[in-house]
């Protein structure tokens, strides 16, 4: 069951999927090393889910090819199915059944005997902290519980490759952290994880390599370090005590940091986006210098934070348009902003 052979869990070349006029996936090339978490980062409608569905044998590609552990996803779909599991954006379990019934059902379908399936279901429910809810119908579960039962269903037989399609979209921060812990535990046991997400921090927390995808194409790929370096050092977020001082502060930051400064909708807040090329200093050093200058100028800073580049910033840097630019044809999704 181990995956030492070629070292690649997924390999795709020019993968294409069209829905009518739309090229949802438009020539995607991926090479996912086995035993790692690979992040696929992109906004709603970028083609992430469509790509995952093709790799999980749910959709037939219209062009290009893909191999999962060396098996062709179209011609050897059954062999692929034997080694992968998919946790979709929406709970991929039967909402009318209880937690236990769902896991026993899937256990039986994976070839376990009746009692083996029951034992495994009970142990999984316990490990996922769902023992109390085991007898309740899944439709009565909270968002966090659904995600857990869903992941539990995906690892009934430890898969060689686990697809997690936006596993934390719609979860509160606490549940999100718990999902991250589960993902880490799964990878620690040698399973390869392909994670799609809209959130850069999620990819940052979990993935070792990241592909950024937009309009069905991979627009950047690399390790976390490589990607961030290409995007910029990050952003400085400030909240001032006195809104009247904001123009002064913005002016100062522009000069000291040679950064793009942006007023936020909150009248006391502003954000400075740090560049990479202009300075050899680290983001922290630049920020410290800026704070010193602000203090000297008599600007009172209430709150200060040094943030990673947000997904919006990654997009701006990589594509020249932000994730919900008017021309991009996507609906405005408030979730992006929560994350950013």
């Amino acid at each position: 069951m181990s995956t030492q052979t070629s070292g690649l869990a997924i390999e795709t070349a020019g993968l294409v999927k069209t829905f009518g006029e739309t090229r949802a996936v438009d020539g995607v090339d991926l090479a996912v090393p086995a035993g790692t978490v690979y992040g696929v980062l992109g906004p709603n409608g970028a083609g992430k889910t469509t790509t995952v569905k093709m790799l999980a044998t749910l959709l037939r590609p219209d062009g290009g090819e893909a191999h999962v552990f060396g098996h062709d996803i179209v011609r050897e779909a059954d062999a692929v199915r034997g080694r992968v599991s998919l946790t979709g954006q929406y709970a991929s379990v039967d909402e009318d059944l209880t937690g236990t019934e769902n896991l026993v059902l899937l256990g039986r379908l994976l070839g376990h005997g009746k009692s083996a399936a029951r034992v495994r279901a009970a142990r999984l429910l316990e490990a996922f902290g769902l023992t109390e809810a085991a007898g309740k119908q899944v439709k009565h579960y909270s968002g966090g519980m659904r995600r857990r039962i869903d992941i539990a269903a995906s690892i009934l037989n430890t898969p060689d490759l686990l697809f997690l399609d936006e596993p934390t979209t719609g979860l509160d921060p606490r549940s999100r952290n718990q999902v991250w812990d589960i993902v880490r535990a799964v990878v620690a046991q040698g399973t390869t994880v392909l994670l799609t997400t809209q959130y850069l921090d999620e990819a940052d927390q979990l993935a070792s390599r990241i592909a950024v995808i937009d309009h069905g194409r991979v627009i950047a790929e690399g390790t976390k370090g490589e990607l961030k370096a290409s995007v910029g050092a990050g952003s400085v977020h400030l909240r001032l005590r006195d809104p009247d001082q904001r123009p002064l502060a913005a002016d100062l930051l522009r000069r000291v940091l040679d950064a793009q400064v942006q007023d936020e909708s909150d009248p006391v807040a502003l954000t400075a986006r740090l560049g990479t090329a202009a300075s050899h200093d680290t983001a922290a050093e630049q920020a410290a210098r800026a704070l010193g200058e602000l203090a000297r100028a008599g600007v009172t800073v209430d709150n200060f934070s040094l943030g990673q580049p947000s997904l919006d910033e990654v997009f701006l840097a990589l594509t020249g348009h932000d994730t919900h630019a008017p021309g991009s044809g996507r609906s405005h999704d408030p979730k992006d902003e929560v994350a950013a």
């Binding site: 992968v84 929406y90 046991q189």
Partner: protein, 282 residues
């Protein structure tokens, strides 16, 4: 339900990393289940759904009772002199009609399931592909059996006496359930093909009403115009109604039984592959 999300998840027991790691240590995977075992497991799912949502049995209990009562007293006096005599002819027909009619709910349940994520999970499992569909139909076979028992019971109360005895009744029900199972592949096809539940219902009605009413369920086709007789005499529902009527009366009409089973086989051979093609393409 969604408003409870935050409060509930904060009370959630923590994930136990140790026991999780223990579970993940790759054990030898069990061999894949056989086609039969996978189908039976999906059938078990259908039974569990009946257990959790018993309201769905309404259509196999109340609806058939209504049909028997309505047609016996509506047509009985006019067509056969009295309801008591008419029911000897009518009951097996109404039995056939009701069960064939409730097969159309198969399409609706397939269609509503597709909308949910669980369908994607089933489709990524390394199992015999048709087992998901066969599972629906096995669950439905149970519903057809329940409906048959309900109708027969009501019929007996109203005075129906099957001369074929217990054996005739059992064979009649078995024949009907087998036919309904085969016929349902039409609905799995529509369930996968059509976009909404409403359109599935609409198309089902268009098929089922002419097919069941244009048969010998209510009256002897000899009073019908020639062109209609040609259709009615060759309709699968007519053959099935004649076969069930005959078997329950103790006549054992071999040709009608053969015709019914032949039609059943034809339905599976034609609509089974179309269903599976749609299922794989979805």
């Amino acid at each position: 339900m969604s408003t409870a999300t935050t409060t509930e998840s904060t009370e959630l027991a923590p994930v136990s990393a140790d026991s999780l790691a223990e579970l993940l240590v790759s054990e030898e995977r069990p061999p894949r289940p056989s086609a039969w075992s996978a189908s039976m497991t999906f059938g078990w799912r259908a039974v569990l759904k009946i257990k959790h949502v018993p309201e769905q049995l309404f259509d196999v209990t109340a609806f058939p009772i209504m049909m028997v009562l309505m047609y016996t007293y509506l047509f009985g006096g006019a067509l056969a002199g009295s309801p008591k005599e008419y029911i000897q002819f009518l009951l097996p027909g109404v039995l056939v009609m009701s069960v064939v009619m409730i097969t159309m709910y198969t399409g609706v349940s397939v269609n509503t399931d597709i909308e949910k994520g669980v369908f994607d999970r089933f489709r990524t499992l390394p199992i015999w592909r048709p087992s998901t569909m066969v599972g629906y139909l096995l669950g439905d076979a149970l519903r057809y059996t329940i409906a048959s028992v309900v109708i027969l019971t009501v019929g007996m109360v109203l005075g129906y006496r099957p001369d074929g005895g217990v054996a005739g009744v059992l064979v009649g029900i078995a024949l009907l359930v087998a036919f309904a199972f085969a016929f349902s592949w039409i609905w799995t096809m529509f369930g996968l093909m059509l976009r909404t539940e409403k359109s599935v219902m609409g198309v089902s009605m268009m098929v089922i009403f002419p097919l069941t009413f244009l048969s010998n369920v209510f009256v002897d086709p000899r009073t019908m115009p020639g062109w209609l007789q040609a259709f009615v005499n060759n309709s699968p529902v007519t053959h099935l109604a004649s076969a069930v009527r005959g078997v329950m009366a103790g006549d054992w009409p071999a040709d009608e039984i053969a015709w019914s089973l032949g039609w059943a086989g034809l339905f599976v051979l034609v609509f089974g592959p179309i269903t599976m093609r749609l299922y794989n393409r979805k």
